[in-house]
Every structure is written in structure tokens, then in C-alpha cells.
């Protein structure tokens, strides 16, 4: 395995599965700045132009807090589903998964599966109740019948931890990717991403953020479909033929058709599966999207549309990865003098674009990859700013009596601050290994946000004490086990053996959270706890029927 393997930051998500060893080089390897890619830059500028126009249009429609946080509840189920799928179809999954399929074949499919199966669970357990109970953030739901201030504080910290980790990983990935694809300087790339992200959210709020995400999702789906189609034409639409050719030329031969070394032991496998499955249901920028639709019916539709597009996209990346094995790995034009893929294995999808569609299509795919990062960071920034303004400022500081205009202003200031922080951290972490960050973000989401959210909707006996202590324990356990595990303790801190032997904390940290919440709830005999339990029935009726739920706002 050479150093170029996984040198892009984008594989952060890939780190979840590729295991710690492979990820050691993830972001430490040097990235060579490529020659200026003119068609890609032109197409990217067109994308930026269109999205800035949309932001200007959205800014005129964004007046109230509901407009700003939730696009007035006027997004349709289909649009929202497309936007949600856009949040998942990040540059990391497009380039990272196709690279994973390229290097290890079947393992890439296992990886994408974990991301997908979270969606049916969200549909069955969470979507409609979330929509019926909340307004702008998932903390609205978690704190519905509990004591607002402590629960909102915990939720806000859970959200901010997830957003910060995710954002740093994306910024570093963006910088490296743009250096490779566009031939732009790393610092310029990070500043451009940060500035555009702030622009979308600051002026256009959720409406602009959603449209940017939708447009990106549509062009990414188009580009990936075209590539997969060209690969299938090459093999006369025979999957068996595709696999045959791939096995014949791949260094690992037939072993690419079965599970490889991605998941080392059962505990890691289960832990990872849990983090991917339930972490999705605790990601603040995803949960926030459920409030952009008018009612539970549209919320359900959006999950179906999202699941369909995400599943379709993962099938495409699988075909693209195999296509790269037969069309890129065999073509000396895409290799350097040592036979390694130019720009590292994460570039195979980009090289494949060149192989099947020439330089114009290569430019198009490069521009799409850049657009993808922009759209994802914009959603993250909005979720982070909402946690600060809606949960911490309006909920905790002003006890839900904040002036709406002022709350939105606080949110916009937070976006600016987040933008600056993201740029600074993006530059500070340039040479650091941030590969573990997305994994940690999913683990925290699964161990803090998800248990509190789920039990607040399903378990009558949950009390504030249980939620705060249990959720807090889950958060701390996830972070502690991650630090003591192989990725950080051994690879980053340089100790000889990890104290916690597994790559992923979710199995244990989720158990700690659920047991903690249970224990500190059932032993809570305070008067407040009784009141909170009594409110369950009223909450239950609303969560089922939608009576009293915030609806769409007509303009």
C-alpha cells in the first residue's frame, strides 16, 4: 500500500471502514498541486453564479425566523428528499467510496450499506414524530416535555460537537481536493469555501441552503449516472462481464468479489454498523431538514425520495469503482512513472470521467466535486448556527422568550463566526490527520443526540435528569473511547498499544448512554419528573396526529 493511498482528506468518511491502519496516511501525505484546470474552473464559476443568484432570490423571501431556519416550511417532500440525499452524497462518498471499490472491490459495498440502512429506520421510528413535535432544531423535540434549559444545552453541545468535527474534516478535504482538481492553492481554496458557505447561509438561510443542495444533488446524480452508463456500455450491460474483466486485471484477483480486511473483528463490525445506522438519526444538519416541509406526510415522502436517491447513488459508485478498475488502472495515461494513480486513488472517479467523457466532462465532474463540498458545509454551518441561536441563545439564555429578529441576527453572527473558525481550523489542520473526525461525529451523534431524541419520543419515564446525565455520559464515553482507541492513542499520540482496542466506540458508548438515561430516569422521583411523565400523553397525541404542529407559512 503506497503513501498515495488515501492521501486525500476526503476519505475521512472512508476511515470509518477502512480501519485505522489504512488511514494512518490519510491526510499526512503531501498533495501535489496540479496545473490550473480551466474548464473545471469555468464550470465551477457557473455553479457559483447560479447559486449566488438563488441566494439573492432567497434573501428576499427570507423574512421571519421560520423562513430563515426552515424555509418557511414550504419545501416539498420531493425537494427535501433530494436535498437530504445531497447531504449524504458528499465528495467523500463520491470519491471515497469509488476509490474504496477501486482498491478493495466488495468492501466498498459494505461501507455504503451502513449509510443507507439508517434511512429506513429514520422513516419508521423518527421522521413523522420529529416533524410533528419540532420547529427548527431537534432540540425542540428532545426538550418538548423536559426542562428546556438543561436539555437544550446538552443537545446544542451534541450538535456543535458533531458540526465542528464534520466541518473541519470537510474544510481540510475541500482544500486538498481543490488543490488537486483545480490547481488552486490550499489556503485560497479553504477561504473560498468558507466565504461562499457564509454567503449562502447568512443571506439565504435554509431556502438558499436547500436549493444549493438540490442543484448539486441533481448535477452529481447526472454526472455519476453518465459515468456508470458509459461503463455499462463498455461491458455490453453485463455485470458479470464487468466483474470478469475487473477480476482479470485487479492485483487482488477474485478476492475483490468478497469481504476483505475492512472490518477486522465482530465488535468493530457491530460497533461501526451501529454508528452508521443510528448516527444518521442524530446528525443535526439532517434532522433540521425535516422542519422545512409542511407536514408529516411530506416528511415521509422526503425520506422515501432520499433513500431512493442515496441507494441509487451507491449502486452507481459501485459500478464506477469497478469501471475504474478496468478503464483507469489499465491506462498508463492515468499513472505516474511508478505505476501509481496520479493524484492518489481518490482520483479514480475523476480519471474515469476523463476516460469516458473527455476533458470537458472531466471539468464538469471536478466542478461537481467542489460544488458538493460547498453544499454540505453550508448545511453544517446552518445547523451549527441554529444550535447557538435557537437552542443556546433563545432557549437557554432567553428562556424561549427571545425576540425573533434578534434571534435570527444572533444566528447570522454565529454563521460569520463559524465561517471564520472553519477557515482558521481548516488551515490549522492542513497537515493533521483528521480522518477520524467524521467517524467520531457519527459516534457522538449515535451516542448522545440519538438516544435522547429517541427516548424523548418513545419512553414515558424519561426525565430531564436521565436525559442530561445519560446523554452527557454517552457524549463523554464516545469521545474518551475514540481518544483511547487505535486511531488517536496509537497513530496520532504515538503510544505503543491502544487502551481501548476497537476502532469504533459506538457499541459501548451507546450502551452507556441508554443505560445511563434509564438509570437516572427511573430513580428520579422528583415532582418535576412526575410532571414530565404526565406530559407524555399530550406529547404522544401531538406526535401521532400533528395537532398543534407548526405548519408551512404562506407568503
Amino acid at each position: 500500500m503506497n503513501i498515495a493511498f488515501f492521501k486525500l482528506a476526503l476519505v475521512v468518511a472512508g476511515s470509518l471502514l477502512t480501519g485505522a491502519t489504512a488511514m494512518a496516511d490519510a491526510l499526512t501525505g503531501p498533495v501535489t498541486q496540479q496545473a490550473l484546470n480551466v474548464p473545471a474552473i469555468i464550470m465551477f464559476l457557473i455553479f457559483v453564479g447560479i447559486t449566488l443568484y438563488i441566494t439573492w432570490w432567497a434573501s428576499k423571501k427570507t423574512r421571519s425566523a421560520s423562513d430563515y431556519y426552515a424555509a418557511g416550511g414550504n419545501i416539498t417532500g420531493f425537494q427535501n428528499g433530494l436535498a437530504i440525499s445531497g447531504d449524504f452524497m458528499s465528495a467523500a462518498s463520491f470519491l471515497g467510496i469509488s476509490a474504496l471499490v477501486f482498491t478493495s472491490g466488495y468492501d466498498g459495498l459494505i461501507y455504503s450499506m451502513g449509510f443507507l440502512v439508517g434511512w429506513p429506520m429514520i422513516m419508521f421510528l423518527i421522521a413523522e414524530r420529529l416533524r410533528n413535535l419540532g420547529r427548527y432544531t431537534f432540540a425542540d423535540v428532545a426538550s418538548f416535555r423536559l426542562s428546556k434549559r438543561p436539555v437544550r444545552t446538552l443537545s446544542a453541545f451534541g450538535s456543535l460537537a458533531v458540526v465542528a468535527l464534520y466541518l473541519i474534516a470537510q474544510m481540510v478535504g475541500a482544500g486538498k481536493l481543490i488543490q488537486l482538481l483545480f490547481g488552486l492553492n490550499y489556503h485560497i481554496a479553504v477561504v473560498v469555501v468558507g466565504a461562499l458557505m457564509v454567503c449562502y447561509v447568512l443571506f439565504g438561510g435554509m431556502l438558499a441552503t436547500t436549493w444549493v443542495q438540490m442543484i448539486k444533488a441533481a448535477i452529481l446524480l447526472f454526472g455519476a449516472s453518465f459515468m456508470a452508463l458509459m461503463v455499462l456500455i463498455h461491458v455490453d450491460f453485463s455485470l458479470e462481464g464487468l466483474f470478469n474483466e475487473a477480476v482479470a486485471v485487479h492485483a487482488n484477483g477474485a478476492s475483490i468479489m468478497s469481504p476483505g480486511g475492512l472490518v477486522k473483528d465482530p465488535i468493530s463490525a457491530i460497533s461501526l454498523g451501529l454508528a452508521l445506522m443510528f448516527g444518521t438519526a442524530g446528525l443535526p444538519h439532517i434532522l433540521m431538514r425535516f422542519f422545512t416541509v409542511g407536514n408529516a406526510k411530506e416528511a415521509r415522502k422526503s425520506v422515501f425520495v432520499a433513500t431512493g436517491f442515496i441507494g441509487y447513488f451507491y449502486i452507481l459508485t459501485f459500478i464506477i469503482g469497478f469501471g475504474a478498475i478496468i478503464l483507469v488502472s489499465t491506462n498508463p495515461a492515468f499513472q505516474d512513472s511508478t505505476g501509481a494513480i496520479i493524484g492518489g486513488n481518490n482520483m479514480v472517479a475523476v480519471h474515469l470521467a476523463n476516460a469516458v467523457g473527455g476533458s470537458i466532462f472531466l471539468g464538469f465532474i471536478s466542478a461537481v466535486a467542489f460544488a458538493t463540498i460547498l453544499a454540505v458545509v453550508a448545511g453544517l454551518a446552518l445547523a451549527g448556527a441554529s444550535a447557538i441561536s435557537h437552542d443556546l441563545y433563545a432557549g437557554v439564555l432567553k428562556k424561549d422568550n427571545a425576540d425573533e429578529k434578534k434571534e435570527v441576527r444572533i444566528s447570522k453572527i454565529s454563521v460569520l463566526v463559524l465561517g471564520v473558525v472553519a477557515i482558521v481550523l481548516g488551515i490549522a489542520f492542513e497537515t493533521q490527520n483528521v480522518a477520524f473526525m467524521v467517524g467520531l461525529a457519527f459516534s457522538i451523534a449515535a451516542s448522545c443526540n440519538f438516544p435522547v431524541l429517541l427516548l424523548s419520543m418513545y419512553w414515558r419515564r424519561l426525565t430531564t435528569r436521565g436525559a442530561v446525565i445519560g446523554g452527557g455520559l454517552g457524549l463523554v464515553t464516545a469521545i474518551a473511547l475514540m481518544i483511547l482507541g487505535p486511531t488517536i492513542w496509537v497513530q496520532v499520540l504515538g503510544h505503543a498499544t491502544p487502551i481501548y482496542p476497537y476502532d469504533y466506540p459506538a457499541l459501548f458508548s451507546m450502551a452507556v448512554a441508554f443505560i445511563g438515561i434509564w438509570l437516572f430516569s427511573v430513580t428520579d422521583h422528583s415532582a418535576a419528573a412526575k410532571r414530565e411523565r404526565d406530559l407524555f400523553d399530550a406529547q404522544f397525541v401531538r406526535s401521532q396526529t400533528g395537532i398543534g404542529a407548526s405548519g408551512s407559512v404562506a407568503h
Binding site: P120, F124, E128, R300
Partner: protein, 108 residues
């Protein structure tokens, strides 16, 4: 966000309403069944990878390159999409009609 319903007693009427109880029972059972199917299939898949990866590496037929793993993997993706579709279909049809009936009965 502290207002639970339009007024403080309405939810008690709804809770006692027969249509509401029917809705809750049907929907919860349906959601639970589908969740268990999805979770079970996925966990079975993960356990297969962890304990018996060879099974997934078996070719569909002798002489073929395509393995059971490919079929099962792609199948799981399609099952996930199909199950969500199934839920939406029933929830946006039957359950929403029941829900509308609950709201109608409460108004009277």
C-alpha cells in the same frame, strides 16, 4: 414550544377516541415490524461479514465471477428502498385517512 395542543384538554379526548387508538396500534405495529425486518437483515449481513465472510464470497454458480455477496448487497439496498416505500404508501394513505377521521371526530 410549550403549548402542547390548541387547548389543554383536547388531547384527552383524542386519547380516548377509538379511531385514534386504532391508528396508533396499526401504525406502531407496522413501523415496528418493518424496523425489525430492516435491522435484522442488516445485522445478519454484518454478522456474516464478521463470522463467515466466505459465504459472501461464494460464486452464484460455478464458473461465474459474480458472488452471493454482490447479490445480497445490492438486494439489501433495494430492500431498504422498498421497505421505506411500503411504509410511505400505507402511512400517506390508510394512516392519514384514519388520522383525518380522528381530527374530524374530535371537532364534532
Amino acid at each position: 414550544m410549550s403549548r402542547l395542543t390548541h387547548n389543554d384538554t383536547q388531547w384527552r379526548d383524542i386519547q380516548r377516541n377509538a379511531s385514534f387508538q386504532e391508528l396508533v396500534q396499526k401504525r406502531s405495529r407496522f413501523a415496528m415490524t418493518l424496523s425489525i425486518i430492516m435491522l435484522g437483515l442488516y445485522m445478519a449481513f454484518i454478522l456474516l461479514i464478521a463470522f463467515a465472510p466466505g459465504v459472501l464470497g461464494t460464486p452464484l454458480a460455478s464458473g461465474m465471477t459474480t458472488t452471493w455477496g454482490i447479490l445480497i448487497g445490492l438486494g439489501l439496498i433495494l430492500v431498504a428502498i422498498a421497505l421505506t416505500g411500503l411504509y410511505v404508501r400505507r402511512a400517506n394513505g390508510e394512516f392519514d385517512r384514519l388520522n383525518a377521521r380522528v381530527l374530524e371526530e374530535i371537532k364534532r
